[in-house]
């Protein structure tokens, strides 16, 4: 399969890149890892006239904890996330996620920023970032702005990024003591999109009640879903079996899957219920072992 012809641009600074995007408008697409965009171009589902390759811009890659955040450069490859010691030890939800995105070869090229900016409700990072309460740092010709992840996904394959903006960094608030998370994904085979997947993040307070609860759902709606009612139901309560069960039911109610080869609506909603309960139990267990 041969993509439609395009003009290829290799800016070496963010300023150059955003100026190009401002000039080219909707005719241009940003190329980062290319593991979603290139397949779409080969199928001619996307035929941008211009590709702005941001891989030559220094400083857009890397993982570090600073100023109370885990800061992930947009060009950080999924395989770097998977191998990161700070992610493995302090952000188990993110570590779980990094191991089940596509396959190991795709993860060598695919980027964290691209996974989010693509706006695909079937991608795995959106739910994870919703559960973690991340924020997106975007740079445009007029400067930098930060977008809370909860207002980032605006529709299928649509985000609040403006056409002349580039996602440069993801910031995840560093979790307090007694926090834990988990990502559970059911996929038919390695490399497939989720039939459904659930991201859960909890912080347990001194009194044993949930101080913070984040729940994100993958591939069960037109956008990634933050299960706010389920979160609210568990917040302030001890994470016992009854409370987890109730939150799981509310998460299933929040899902709006459509039937496809991966399963029926009923099956997927029930899968959300089961995966939410399991993810919450695992998150709570991990929170207990992390002081």
């Amino acid at each position: 399969m041969i993509p439609a012809a395009f003009e290829y641009h290799t800016p070496s600074t963010i300023g150059e890149a955003t100026a190009l995007l401002a000039k080219l408008g909707d005719d241009a697409k940003v190329l980062s890892g290319g593991q979603s965009l290139i397949p779409l171009m080969k199928l001619r589902l996307a035929s941008p006239a211009h590709l702005v390759d941001i891989n030559g811009i220094p400083g857009l890659s890397g993982i570090r904890e600073a100023d109370g955040f885990l800061r992930i450069g947009a060009l950080t490859r999924e395989s770097e996330l998977e191998e990161s010691e700070v992610v493995r030890s302090r952000y188990p939800l993110l570590h779980d996620t990094s191991k089940v995105i596509a396959d190991p070869l795709v993860r060598n090229l695919a980027t964290v920023g691209g996974n989010l900016a693509h706006g695909d409700p079937a991608n795995d990072h959106p739910a994870t970032m919703l559960a973690l309460g991340a924020e997106i740092v975007a740079v445009g010709p007029k400067g930098e702005r930060r977008v809370p992840i909860a207002s980032f996904f605006t529709g299928p394959f649509a985000t609040s990024l403006r056409p002349d903006e580039i996602l440069v960094e993801i910031r995840i608030p560093s979790p307090p003591a007694r926090s834990g998370g988990a990502y559970l994904k059911l996929e038919r085979k390695v490399g497939d999109f989720a039939t459904a997947a659930v991201a859960a993040q909890v912080t347990i307070g001194a009194n044993g009640a949930c101080e913070h609860v984040g729940i994100g759902l993958t591939n069960v709606g037109l956008t990634p879903i933050k299960a706010t009612k389920a979160e609210a139901a568990l917040k302030g309560k001890a994470p016992d079996e009854a409370a987890i069960k109730r939150a799981a039911e509310l998460a299933a109610e929040a899902s709006e899957p459509s039937a496809d080869l991966r399963g029926s609506v009923e099956y997927k909603k029930d899968l959300v219920r089961v995966l939410t309960a399991r993810a919450l139990r695992k998150a709570v267990e991990r929170a207990g072992s992390r002081r």
Partner: protein, 157 residues
């Protein structure tokens, strides 16, 4: 657009359209046909090559993205007329039936063994999970990689 890159230590340059896929440049411009095109949809891994040492699917990269990079293809495994232990392993353990996935399996395993010289069976299965074998010959592929790991640890390469 002029692309300069190195393949198996040899420098190449070619004038290509930006939309030319890297695998097409390797096979049709450089005439290195050891790298296969399988699914052409980023699923099967038959087109796996190393880009600066990292295995990647060359059907999902444009040739222009490989500007200045060091590539390695299956043709680079044999050195001075001597097969790489992985190639020996695939022969000894019957790690291929139709052979279509083999170049990708070899390149993924090559990069994997550099990083994990003493892998468990699970590690190997995890590493090759992005490479599909339509003959479903995974048991012998895993044995072939184990064969190579043992040979390398005994100073084979």
């Amino acid at each position: 657009m002029l692309v300069k890159l190195s393949v198996n230590g040899e420098k190449h340059e070619a004038n290509v359209e930006p939309r030319l896929l890297l695998v097409h440049m390797i096979r049709e411009v450089l005439r290195l046909t050891g790298t296969h095109i399988g699914c052409d949809t980023t699923h099967c891994g038959a087109c796996t090559i190393l880009v600066d040492g990292q295995p990647a699917k060359s059907c999902t990269m444009f040739a222009v993205q490989a500007q200045g990079k060091q590539l390695m293809t299956v043709e680079g495994l044999e050195q001075n007329g001597k097969l790489h232990p992985l190639q020996e392993g695939f022969m000894a353990e019957h790690g291929l039936q139709c052979g279509y996935c083999t170049p990708g399996m070899l390149m993924t395993s090559y990069a994997f063994l550099k990083k994990h010289p003493k892998p468990s069976e699970d590690d190997i299965r995890w590493a090759i999970s992005g490479n599909l074998c339509r003959c479903t010959g995974y048991v012998n592929i895993v044995k072939a990689v184990q064969h190579a790991a043992a040979a390398i640890s005994q100073g084979g390469a």
